[in-house]
């Protein structure tokens, strides 16, 4: 589609995010929430929906939702209510899901994102608590052509649903929002946000309208967005599809569409399957959920410093560039690591550079998380101190770090083993420089004729003959002096 046409339209997106909470037990019973156990082993009369069983609310789950809601600047309702959402599905053992409907736990918040170089507030309509269903297994059994299997281990696992206002204006906005949301959830330690295991799920409502129009277009709900990439691609596809429909004089049909990641497109589900009347009504087996001021305070007191606040503190206290501070605070573990390095005595700017470039590079290559770094923060700080003291060059430092990373040894140990140390003695370096100059009259000539860049080549040669141990700054000074001497 021509960009010109696309620019005549505005995309309007709202997200519905489900976050699985990191409670040890389920929302309404004491069964474990562990992932990956043998089917139907973490079950009891309550989460199996056996006759006579009743739900009892897990307090920790409520506290976790409150932490998330506070982080999203929501109002916590002093009283909220659970409701039954009625529908038949084989992996829904009670024939209804206990959720929240017209009286959610929290409402009316916002989250700021970066959009097109400026910051923008995305409204949070509501945050509520509900139980997950089990899993239907349609594949992988000898009789899968004619039977499905049900695993109810997940049944009753606590989910937090976060619904945004239709404030997102592009697939990139949506991606950015979800990224920030995930970071916050990880900071709060309320979820592991593992999309592959389904602990972070996202549905999107998307519509398009003529730029400048205040009226919302007909929306579609896009499901099956089980990665950040799919979210962005599906929304890009869906918005183009809708624009094309309108451009061709057709109408957008309000429906639920599934993203097919193989075909790279969305397709509509038979509307009959989704024409549900959920017949919500207040859950009579649970009392209204009353949040006392003390309970709210308890949740607030458990909240760590959030990414935005930490980033601001990093730019302020450590004089870091915005970009570096943002990078470092994009993960709680990374930010924590960085601060440990600084606390162990490293210069903040240098610590940021080394953490973000050298260490992250090594981690990425070995596919490891910062929490599993073989180089503890204190060790990195020690290395940085040696560099600052000119005990080794920065270039050598990189080699040392790589070896520390591979062997888990400390910087002094690696240096001793490899015989690495900075050569700063001017006499030794002068001797080496003279040798190189004498052996390379051609380059010497070029330098003398005014080609200053040749100096770099000479530095490289000296570094090479000293096996990188020479202090490059000293080498440069000495070379300048020696080359000038030759000229005279």
């Amino acid at each position: 589609m021509a960009a010109g046409i696309r620019n005549q339209y505005e995309v309007v997106i709202g997200l519905e995010v489900h976050v699985q909470l990191l409670t040890r037990s389920k929302l309404f019973c004491g069964c474990s929430t562990r992932f990956g156990d043998p089917p139907n082993t973490n079950t009891c009369p309550v989460c199996l929906g056996l006759p006579g069983a009743l739900p009892v609310l897990n307090r920790d789950a409520v506290t976790m939702v409150m932490k998330a809601a506070l982080a999203l600047n929501c109002v916590i309702n002093p009283q909220s209510r659970f409701a039954r959402k009625n529908y038949f599905y084989p992996d829904l053992p009670k024939g209804y899901q206990i959720s929240q409907y017209d009286e959610p736990l929290a409402e009316d918040g916002w989250l700021e994102i970066e959009a097109g170089g400026s910051r923008k507030r995305i409204g949070i309509t509501r945050v509520h608590l509900e139980e997950d269903a089990g899993k239907s297994l349609h594949e992988g059994f000898p009789d899968s052509d004619r039977a499905s299997y049900i695993d109810l281990n997940r049944s009753g696992t606590p989910l937090m649903e976060i619904v945004t206002e239709p404030d997102l204006r592009s697939p990139e906005d949506a991606h950015e929002f979800l990224t920030r949301l995930k970071t916050i959830m990880l900071y709060l330690e309320v979820s592991d946000c593992n999309m592959e295991e389904g602990s972070l799920r996202c549905d999107a409502n998307a519509s398009v309208r003529r730029a400048g129009s205040a009226v919302l277009g007909t929306k579609t709900e896009v499901k099956n967005l089980n990665s950040f990439r799919f979210l962005q691609r599906a929304l890009a596809y869906e918005s183009e599809r809708q624009i094309e429909l309108l451009e061709n004089g057709q109408e957008v049909v309000q429906e639920t569409r599934l993203w097919d990641s193989r075909e790279q497109k969305t397709y509509g589900m038979r509307s009959k399957e989704f024409a549900h009347d959920y017949r919500y009504f207040p859950e009579p087996d649970l009392l209204p959920l009353v949040i006392t001021a003390d309970w709210k305070e308890e949740a607030r007191s458990q909240m760590p410093e959030l990414p935005d606040a930490r980033k601001q503190r990093f730019t302020r206290d450590y004089a870091l560039a915005d970009y570096d501070a943002a990078q470092l605070t994009s993960s709680k573990a990374l930010a924590g690591y960085y601060e440990e390095v600084v606390k162990a005595g490293a210069e903040p700017k240098q610590a940021a550079n080394w953490t973000l470039t050298e260490l992250l590079h090594l981690l990425k290559e070995s596919k490891r998380e910062i929490a599993a770094s073989p180089v503890p923060a204190a060790s990195l700080a020690e290395l940085l101190r040696l560099i600052a003291e000119d005990a080794i060059s920065g270039k050598m430092g990189k080699e040392v770090l790589a070896e520390m990373f591979n062997s888990g040894k400390s910087a002094p140990n690696v240096m001793a083993e490899k015989g690495l140390k900075q050569m700063s003695d001017p006499e030794e370096i002068t001797a080496a420089a003279r040798e190189i100059i004498a052996a390379n009259p051609k380059q010497t000539g070029q330098y003398r004729s005014g080609k200053a860049a040749t100096l770099g080549w000479f530095v490289g040669q000296v570094m090479k003959t000293t096996r990188g141990q020479a202090n490059p700054q000293v080498v440069q000074e000495i070379l300048k002096k020696e080359l000038s001497a030759v000229k005279e």
Binding site: G30, G52, P93, F281, P284, L286
Partner: protein, 576 residues
Amino acid sequence: MRPTQVQGCSGCPASSNGNNILKESSADRRICGLRLFAHPTDKPRSHKGLGGADMASFGHVCDFRGSQTLQSARFLRHPLTRIVRPIPRHYTMDLTELNISQIRNALAAKQVSAEEICQEHLKRIGERDSEVRAYLTVTAERALAQARKVDRLVTEGRPLPALAGVPVAIKDAIVTRGVRTTCASKILENYVSPYDATAVERLESAGGVILGKTNCDEFAMGSSTENSAFFPTRNPVEPSRVPGGSSGGSAAAVAAHLATIALGSDTGGSIRQPAAYCGVAGMMGSYGRVSRYGLVAFASSLDHIGPFARSVADLACVLGVIAGRDPLDSTSVDVPVRDYGAALDGDVRGLKVGIPREYFEGLSSETGANIQKAVDLLARLGCEVHSISLPHTAFAIGCYYIIATAEASSNLARYDGVRYGFRSEDHKNGLREMYKKTRDAGFGAEVKRRIMLGTYVLSSGYYDAYYRKAQQVRSLIARDFLEAFDEVDVIVTPTSPFPAFKLGERVDDPLQMYLADIYTVNASLAGIPGISVPCGRTATKPCLPVGMQILARHFDEARLLQVAHAFEKAGGFAIA
């Protein structure tokens, strides 16, 4: 002619001496408790949830001070102090006649064993239940094992818990581990629960001997027990009549001496109305008084578990055992369980009794006559009788059938053939067909009617007009009672507008059937406690039992029992 008498010499004089001795030693018996009887469960019985209370931290006792008459307890001749060996049983004792304290005393005195009591009841069930058909399942083995456990306590000289050796019948809407729980429905015909309801666990922990599971209307929906998918139960007083419902099997079992006490469930009158029809006492505590954990849900905001018995003292004792906060039922309330036995002091002088005008419109004249006599008796006992008004009474049936069916439509959604219970095998066309055929064949007509009604009132576009409106009416009905209880201590009404009707008389007319509950649904909607006690029989043949309902403030069960007991003591049960 009762076939269960122990033969012996007759004419031995009853002695109150033994009774006194028992009272003196009652302090020991107060230490009865769950630990003696607690059986290991498969799963820890507490969720990591809001409630962290320890289930085992309560113990139940009954205190019968001042409450025992023991007119028929001829076996209590020997003071305990003289017992050196089992007493020879050379006297007449019908073990199915005994009340709780008589059983307890007889066991303590080693005059009879719990096993014998159990055997006598099982024998009587074998002989009599082919006519009454109160039981769906008889659990002889479980009962005998439990009875022997009680006997071991006696042998070891350990304190006896509150219901030691007492034969109990359990409505089949209450789950029992390892025993079929059918809810009188085809859809759960072969369903065996892996756990016990809290009330069942508490009964057994208190030494109760569960004889079996009783018939009821399918999923407790009905007022005659004719909606059982298996067979109707007959009223032991007059076999051509229904026992009432939905807990008709439990009421009939107690009335026919096929159990000493029974548990039923009451959603809109399902304990009180059959108690009235069968001439026994039955009560529903305040909503939240007795845990619903393990009661197969019909209408969650209205469902109660409650006891049947032949005396108020027995009711009080059972309530004391099953009442109290249960961490597994979020709607159970942490109001202290009173010593209900101690409340039975017989003194109701100065108590204000309200008679709601609205409950006497459309009342059958015979029932009205008995209630009038009952009220007169209360007045003679020193009660002040006041005429009161509960202005929203007329809306209660409509309100009830909206709320109850709405909740039922959701509660019964789980019976879908996927995980347990009946599944139609005829489903070549997939899941939807399986759902439809399973539920069509598995549920009876009344259940289907209520599911449809409930689905309708919750539907988008109708919710406000029906469900929300009904909730508003419910608040008004509750307010009526609150205001009335500013003026009076208890309210007395007929339990049902008419006595037990004939089998088949109302089955084809659901509305006529629903009218059997017009006096009981109000209290259910308000969440207040209610009791039905016998108040004589109708004057004309076949002289059917009439029930009087007493209602009290939230959690004022002790008051209910006190009034009912005073009434019983003054001969009110047999008023003529």
